[in-house]
Symmetry: C2
Subunit: 410 residues, 2 copies
């Protein structure tokens, strides 16, 4: 995404419907200090009053798998109904390191391949590229993974001598598509994954940002009965982005070359010991304190943020409907996610990096060309719109500018 960053830097006055950053209106450094102290007090109590031990846990080199694994397990129980052995959790430097560790463990030979619904998050492409793992695209539908295509891709890959190990998927308000899978679609995906004998890598950064009052659809991991799902978690959107803390729940049993048993989490920890050694205990302490102060529920801790994201989503959908009425020719369409940070708009022309620069320069508005999420560089007629970090007046002005850009090129 270097090109996108460069465009954004060149046109600092452009309104960004491109950046997927969390909302900044509630940022609070005093809360960071408080979280740190909350976590310290928690450790002192846990260590029977041993203040030096608590201090060293936060300030010294630490356990490779992390120091807040037990708190993360309680959070998963409270917010997701997931029962997790804390020893199966590895706390990581954001979710991106979790993706890398998992792919590095799964890539044993150059025959191992990753499946991913495309369009998909660029971080998955990036991590696959770093570990030299081919990425096999699987078709997306407005309801999630196309399981028939998944089965066909796996079959063809095996015929070609490849070993598809896992499917990377964001079942809730996906990046970039905004699409969410129904409970039935999730159960079907689990069945098909079992039949095909592949793992599911479930990435869930946006799950808490659905409509208020609407019951959340269970995560794949909470429906998983046979350790089929590796759960990739992020505190960047629900905790504090600046802490860069994520985690992976990897409870799969692994047979070691020496015949001994282990878990995938232990394997990931071994890789992490050669990559980043451990995740900053200070940063973990900040997230740990936030978990402790909120009864382990980040769903409830993010009530205000969810309202902002939902209001922004409604404003963008209403604003698009007003600016691009259904009877207009050529017709401009977009999908209608019920939560998350993103939606996808279809234009009557190819919208690549060159037109993004035109849009930034002449219309003062940024968006993300969808080809970045396919990994093949071929320009497409779709763009991703993001609205998570904007104020209402920025959304209105941004949509006005976007409409000006679209009309100039349609």
């Amino acid at each position: 995404m270097n090109f996108l960053n460069e465009v954004a830097q060149h046109y600092p006055d452009a309104i960004s419907l491109a950046a997927g950053r969390p909302y900044e209106g509630f940022f609070d450094l005093d809360a960071v200090h408080r979280h740190l102290e909350t976590y310290r007090a928690h450790l002192v109590a846990e260590f029977g009053g041993d203040t030096q031990r608590a201090l060293c846990t936060i300030l010294q080199y630490g356990r490779t798998k992390g120091i807040i694994h037990e708190l993360v397990a309680r959070h998963l129980a409270v917010d997701e109904g997931i029962t997790a052995d804390p020893e199966s959790i590895v706390v990581t430097v954001g979710c991106q390191e979790a993706v890398y560790l998992t792919l590095r463990a799964l890539r044993v030979t150059d025959r191992d391949a990753l499946l991913a619904v495309v369009p998909s998050y660029v971080g998955a492409h990036g991590a696959a590229q770093l570990v030299d793992m081919p990425l096999l695209p699987v078709k997306d539908t407005p309801h999630g993974v196309d399981v028939a295509d998944l089965a066909a891709v796996v079959r063809d890959a095996r015929t070609a001598g490849l070993r598809p190990r896992a499917l990377y998927v964001i079942p809730d308000f996906a990046n970039p598509s905004g699409v969410s899978m129904s409970r039935e679609a999730r159960e079907e995906l689990l069945r098909v994954a079992a039949e095909l004998d592949i793992l599911l890598l479930e990435d869930n950064p946006y799950g808490f940002f659905g409509a208020e009052g609407e019951p959340a659809v269970p995560t794949l991991k909470s429906l998983d009965r046979d350790r089929r799902v590796v759960y990739l978690g992020s505190f960047a959107k629900t905790g504090i982005p600046g802490a860069r803390v994520g985690y992976v729940l990897a409870d799969q049993r692994v047979v070691l070359p020496d015949g001994g048993g282990s878990t995938l989490a232990d394997q990931l920890a071994k890789i992490k010991s050669m990559l980043t050694v451990n995740t900053s205990p200070i940063a973990q302490a900040v997230i740990g304190g936030k978990l402790l102060e909120n009864g382990f529920s980040l769903r409830s801790a993010n009530t205000a943020e969810r309202r902002v994201y939902q209001a922004n989503l409604r404003q963008v959908l209403d604003g698009l409907a007003r600016r691009f009425p259904a009877h207009e020719v050529p017709r401009i369409i977009w999908n209608t996610p019920t939560g998350g940070f993103f939606l996808v708009m279809s234009l009557p022309f190819e919208a690549g990096d060159d037109l993004l620069e035109v849009s930034a320069r002449e219309h003062g508005v940024l968006w993300t060309p969808m080809h970045h999420f396919y990994g093949d560089g071929r320009p497409r007629r779709t763009i991703r719109l993001s609205f998570s970090h904007l104020r209402p007046e920025e959304i209105e002005a941004g949509l006005d500018r976007l409409a000006g850009f679209v009309r100039a090129h349609a």
Copy 2:
């Protein structure tokens, strides 16, 4: 090092002459709070009073290359006499990520190889393993790299079709050997590296922990005139281990496939964007505040720590001389570093993992078998002793127990 950790966990009452952890006696969480506020105030001033921008710099997703690069450059100028363009610095998750990023960039094909003085730091072996880069061992001497052997290894590797890209080296108080290179040896190494056309990866975690009053030997990077040295920096020993902040100074010019120019730092940032995205800005802010509060000199900020390490080193050397007199048969010998965290002891028997466990169980003392630093698993007659984190009474008891173990097996 998983086995070593397991032994340490199994025998919690054993005194550890194995762990290379920094001294904990000066740990202070209040200082962490203060550093964070110092850095915030610095940003507010830098941003002309824009408090929200300062807040977002610390709490939001951030620049891939880091937010304290300018402070790190000033630190390098003050403490090392290194003139660094801040744009050539990438702030990393500890020095280990810096090593990984550098090797991942240098490994373009499977013909690319890393040279390393052995015995050498396990993290270099680990990162090379993660990027599937063969490690070519170069002989060590009591004065540092054996440059004749270096030239021979490079020649042989090229004949075999390999492409040796760089030599990993710790010129100051090396881990595990404790050896430091003289200024003349450093200048010779730079000359030889230029002749051989290889990079030098200079890792320098212990450089500030030499004898008081003795002038520091210049780093390779400060002697480097033709961008031959990639400088790997750590704040784990000189800043706060729990921040997990390191950096790499990579000012080498790189020609891109499209013919454009870039620096190695830009390449490393691109890899980092796929690995950890950015280093926790909160953790960076803590280190940034410590740099600001100490006029960018970590050498002076670590005066008290250096005194502890120097006193511990003297106590260990004196204690060994008392317990293993020169006239005794078989004679036990060790080297005499003038700083750092480590020294190496030669025993009249092979000291592998099995004997370490005996030592832990029967004598209550831990040390590190040297074979872990060779990467070939072959047991050796040498062990590494570490003394950085111990109190005086622990050193005395530890040496007593070590003497007991040695006499039982010599």
